[in-house]
Symmetry: C2
């Protein structure tokens, strides 16, 4: 597909257009940096926003959940969704209250769900979702049974339209404010993994795997 | 107001209802733990989800942005929004692929925007928003000018309805899977602040303030 996403009414960044990004690689890099998205959908005119797990694969976003989930059933039925992923990279502490900001990367995707029903395709999509959360884990665990597959809805959303918005760098103050005496700069923020916590029912002598020790969120 | 939120069609947690929370204190504690929400709104039937800064004050959510922002204008016009806040607390690594999960806290709020127009009320709302992101900063910075106030839209959303969903604790595996030999447990995740980065234009000899050094995201 084209390297640049088409810009239309739905995905055009209106506010601070200089922060808008339409390069497919740049939008996809933001999608690939996380595993948690917020899915927006409309029911009887009412907007709903639900957090859920996802993974990008090619030009689509994969999502999964319980076959009883309202969100999953809604997506499986082919309804329009908006999928948003946001990474906060830091607080931008300017000299004026007005110029305070946040350094962030966000990606917004528009599309419609399509259920994946074939068990082999479904299992493969679940593998991609698992590897996106915790690379290496899939090979260690018991595979889904056919009953578990039936209890799971897996949906692909083809990326019909998308854009990203990015802010980086130091504060941008009004010229006359640079003479003021307060501290200014950026306080970086990032997701960090803590010490792994063993399941209380884990048998003695089972070591923490390397892929858990090396885990880095935000990739 | 009542300590328990009313449960209706809009805010009832359907999937895994045992994870649903309707205690006002519990929902508000999640709202107070963050400064980034995802706002869902509908335009011509199309859902949009936009990340933005917020703060809770009493039984309302405060939001602000440029007077030119589509989201802000939409909210100021009194349209229905869904405001969702999610904190990821850890990866739940179970013995089966199926029982993998995420420890999280999420709050979903439904309401309608109402613009705050009075300059003193607007400045006070901006103070609350600022203190929610970086406590202590407000007293250090140049206050908004009347022109800056005019360029800013501030909106309050009365919390008409809300709920939270929470997962904590170790994996819950099928009984027969506990005999399997792989590691299982939780990998905790949290937002962490890095070393403050000075503005390249900051004058020599201005020290990093205590409130920046002590900053803790996720409160």
């Amino acid at each position: 597909m084209a390297e640049k996403l088409e810009v239309g009414e739905r995905n055009r960044v209106r506010r601070l257009p200089e922060r808008g990004r339409y390069e497919r690689d740049e939008v996809y890099a933001i999608l690939d940096s996380s595993f948690l998205c917020h899915v927006g959908f409309v029911e009887n005119g009412q907007p709903f926003v639900i957090p859920t797990n996802y993974a990008r694969r090619g030009d689509e976003v994969l999502l999964h959940g319980s076959a009883a989930s309202r969100l999953m059933k809604f997506m499986a039925a082919g309804n329009a969704v908006c999928i948003t992923v946001t990474q906060v990279d830091g607080l931008v502490l300017a000299r004026s209250a007005f110029h305070h900001s946040i350094n962030y990367r966000s990606a917004v995707v528009f599309g419609r769900g399509l259920e994946i029903t074939d068990p082999a395709e479904k299992t493969e999509a679940l593998r991609v979702l698992s590897e996106n959360i915790c690379p290496g884990r899939w090979d260690d665990v018991r595979m889904p049974s056919s009953q578990e597959l039936k209890a799971t809805l897996v949906v692909r959303v083809a990326i019909e339209s998308a854009s990203a918005k990015v802010r980086t760098g130091p504060p941008k103050d009004d010229e006359e404010d640079y003479a003021l005496g307060m501290w200014a700069g950026v306080l970086p923020l990032a997701t960090a993994a803590g010490e792994p916590v063993r399941d209380p029912r884990l048998a003695e002598g089972i070591a923490v795997p390397e892929y858990v020790k090396k885990y880095r969120a935000g990739k």
